[in-house]
């Protein structure tokens, strides 16, 4: 397996709550990070809500489910630094990048400069990025 690096994309299409897809997708991402592959995440359709800022799920203020959104903030430490967000999906829901968590990573090739992990991309850009992948896991 050594030296065999593939491009893995995790495609997230579902809202963070309502179904367990988003949570269990994130569990795959975290385990997969240990395999030193070239990893990216894509967020389309209701999947863009997974990155929404200020998620509140406590029983008093919300739906009484585990708020797993802080885990996305740790992805940079797992060398998961490419999070593509579909612009059309954002706009269709009245959202912009300002409504998303400000996720960052430290770039080891650039004196550990802090850089944004989220990149808002057009459908065409995302199509091209998907086309380059070896493995696409769709959730």
């Amino acid at each position: 397996m050594e030296g065999d690096v593939k491009k893995f994309m995790y495609l997230n299409r579902k809202a963070p709550y309502g179904t367990v897809y988003a949570l269990e997708s994130l569990e795959v991402v975290l385990i997969g990070a240990a395999f030193d592959q070239d990893v990216s995440l894509a967020f389309v359709d209701d999947g863009v809500y997974q990155l929404a800022n200020n998620q509140t799920t406590t029983p008093n203020d919300g739906i009484g489910m585990k708020n797993f959104s802080p885990t996305y903030k740790a992805l940079g430490d797992y060398d998961v630094t490419k999070l593509y967000v579909d612009q059309e999906s954002l706009e269709a829901r009245g959202l912009s990048v300002d409504d998303l968590m400000p996720l960052t990573y430290e770039d080891e090739d650039d004196d550990w400069a802090e850089k944004p992990s989220i990149r808002v991309v057009s459908r065409e850009e995302l199509t091209n990025i998907m086309d380059e992948q070896d493995v696409v896991l769709s959730f």
Partner: protein, 130 residues
């Protein structure tokens, strides 16, 4: 070609498992290799040997089990997804102090690393979901 397959939905409720079964059978018939079949999300429910479908319907679990025996398929159930949903083998049941187990003998419980490894090793990873 070497295929890996991921099944993300349970039996009967969704067609995912049926479609995957037909795909795997067709691939094997054409001489392709199936590296592994990984069951995730509600897909873990495809592994319970306690399923009892009506007699005039297909038995999805037994069908997988029979195909696995015939072709020595590696049927892997995600441990975390399985535990959430009450799917246990003998080992997991005793380790967690539960009084029963329900995983069919043709399936084995393992971790998500098995899915990533399948993605690396196979020429194609085919996902069957909702």
């Amino acid at each position: 070609m070497k295929f890996a397959v991921m099944i993300n939905e349970g039996p009967y409720q969704h067609q995912s498992s049926d479609s995957a079964y037909n795909f795997v059978k067709a691939a094997l018939d054409k001489g392709h290799e199936i590296f592994r079949i990984f069951f995730y999300h509600d897909g873990v429910n495809n592994a319970t040997r306690l399923t009892i479908p009506p007699q005039d319907d297909r038995n999805i679990v037994e069908r997988w089990s029979a195909l696995a025996k015939e072709h020595e398929l590696d049927l892997v159930v995600c441990v975390a997804a399985a535990q959430r949903r009450g799917l246990l083998d003998e080992n997991e049941a005793s380790r967690n102090g539960k009084d029963a187990n329900n995983i069919d003998e043709s399936f084995r419980i393992s971790g998500l690393g098995q899915l990533i490894e399948a993605g690396i090793q196979a020429d194609r990873l085919v996902v069957f979901g909702d």
